[in-house]
Amino acid sequence: MAGVHADAWEATPDRIVAVFDPDRDRSSKLASDYGALVADDFESLVGMVDVVDICTPTHTHASYITAAADAGVDIVCEKPLARTASEAHEAVAACEAAGVRLLVGHVVRFFPEYAAARDAVMAGDIGAVGVVRLDRSTYLPAGASSWFSDRSKSGGVVLDLMIHDVDYARWVAGEVERVYARSAGGGDHVLATLSHTNGAISHIQGSWAYPRGSFRAVFEISGSDGLIQRHAAVQFEASVETSDDVSDVPQPPSSSTESPYVSEIRHFSSVLHGDEEPRVTADDGARAVAVCDGIAESLMTNRAVEVGP
């Protein structure tokens, strides 16, 4: 994700001045691509910048956020905000205490089809939201990014993939009070029901168990006065040929518009320059993690779980 973000920052007035990664080969490569310096450690990195963009594995997010906040640096953090809700709340509190911005990369809010549907909902075009169906089905990330498949680090398909739609469900249907979920395929295929405080129900399918090379992200929002559907562009067959050029990390279908990652980073840049209010707050980031914690607990206990703040 660091490369995607770095490319996107090129579309802003801001410049990447320094890169840190525990793997020095990786940081050197990225730094040279963008004419940046290589920092020896995180502390020296935050001493060289106004904003740090955290694209590390999920389980390390909270400690980097806290360290950056302590150094008084604004923060962009790839989703999920943290590995657990309690870590997320601590990170948000650290940023509030330090008076720094914390912007969370819930990029789905910048996908034009998702944003357009949300705009229509907010305009009242479909009345009160009744049932939201969200589906994000793809294959298990592999290769160099294999930390994704280490659930203790990534939180698995729930925290890494499903969280996109958890955040979107909150964006269109409001707070979630209760969740229930079941999984199959060794935990890589999850079906979750979210009960929103306003009575709306969200059904989310999040899957890393789909055929290698496939990526489907579709949705339907039905309301008291109408219906919005985003259909799949790709039809699945009973099996697909695997191919060697399949990306290790699944990539969502692209559209003809500007990359949503560029839109996201441009927005973040604008927010950091004081020109826009954030589309995703730090609290949104923490609450999405809290809902995912609830889903994970439901999967373990096979009970419906009340979601904390």
Binding site: V131, Y180, A184, L191, T193, D225, A238, A304
Partner: protein
Amino acid sequence: MTRVGIVGLAHVHAAGYAAILADLDDVEFVGVSEPRVELRSGWTTGEVFDDLDALIRARVDAVIVCTQTNEHLAAVTQLAGAGIDVLCEKPLSTTVEDAREIVEVCDRAGVKLMTAFPMRFSPPLIEGAQWIAEERAGQVLAFTGTNNGRIPTDHAAWFADPVAAGGGAVMDHVVHLVDIMRWWLRSEPVEVYADTNRVFHPDAAVETGGVVTVTFDGGVIATIDCSWSRPDNYPIWGGLTIETLGTEGVFATDPFAERLEMWSKGTTEWLDWGHDPNRSMIEHFVGAVRGEHPLAVTGIDGLRATEVALAAYRSASAGQPVEV
């Protein structure tokens, strides 16, 4: 000739069934019985009897039950007592006790009892059953199902009556997908979780939205969106879809995909042009009545599906999963 009648005009399917029965070469369509005058007005297919006794006296071999759901038991009991085979609309009844009684009364009388699950006769779903039997996608892990429609009160108000229908969207739409999944998997639902709401048509006396999670014996998980979430101006009544995830692949099934999209005089419509599963279902029933083959769908299938729908209500009120 097999002599077949219909009891009840309350159900929206009665007219379609009557047209099929009147059209089948080896069937004598005897007529319908319906005590409610308002339901009989405008009815033109076959003879109309004031009550079920009169229809039975007209000598029928078999009857399709199209009363409102809470009247199924009385009609089936009367038919079974007269030794008449029964094809009963779904859901079998509004309570587990009544549904079980429907099965038992037919067993005791030795009459055939079929539940009206037309999706069993839908070619894409039959192909799905074959694909699962052949393990085309490996071992099944999960189903994602939808059976969404407009609120059916345009057809008959009782569909949204808690007494007559026993509930709303859950009663109306959960049973079809549960039956398909039981048929495909050859295993039984063991646990159900449901959340329901009344956002669509908030004036209704029953739930209009619902998402139900079903866990099968053997561990397959499934969700069923049963919501009456299609708007009034949706191009068709609704639809049913099921996606199957297996260890080796995934396939999606839409039994209503055979349709034209038509824009005409300010409206959008979808015109079905494919196979009519209702016709195959009735042909199968009539063949079974004649002893040509055993029933592919029985009263037990109707009972099992009804149990899941009723478990969904228990779960929705408990806020937790419940055993079936």
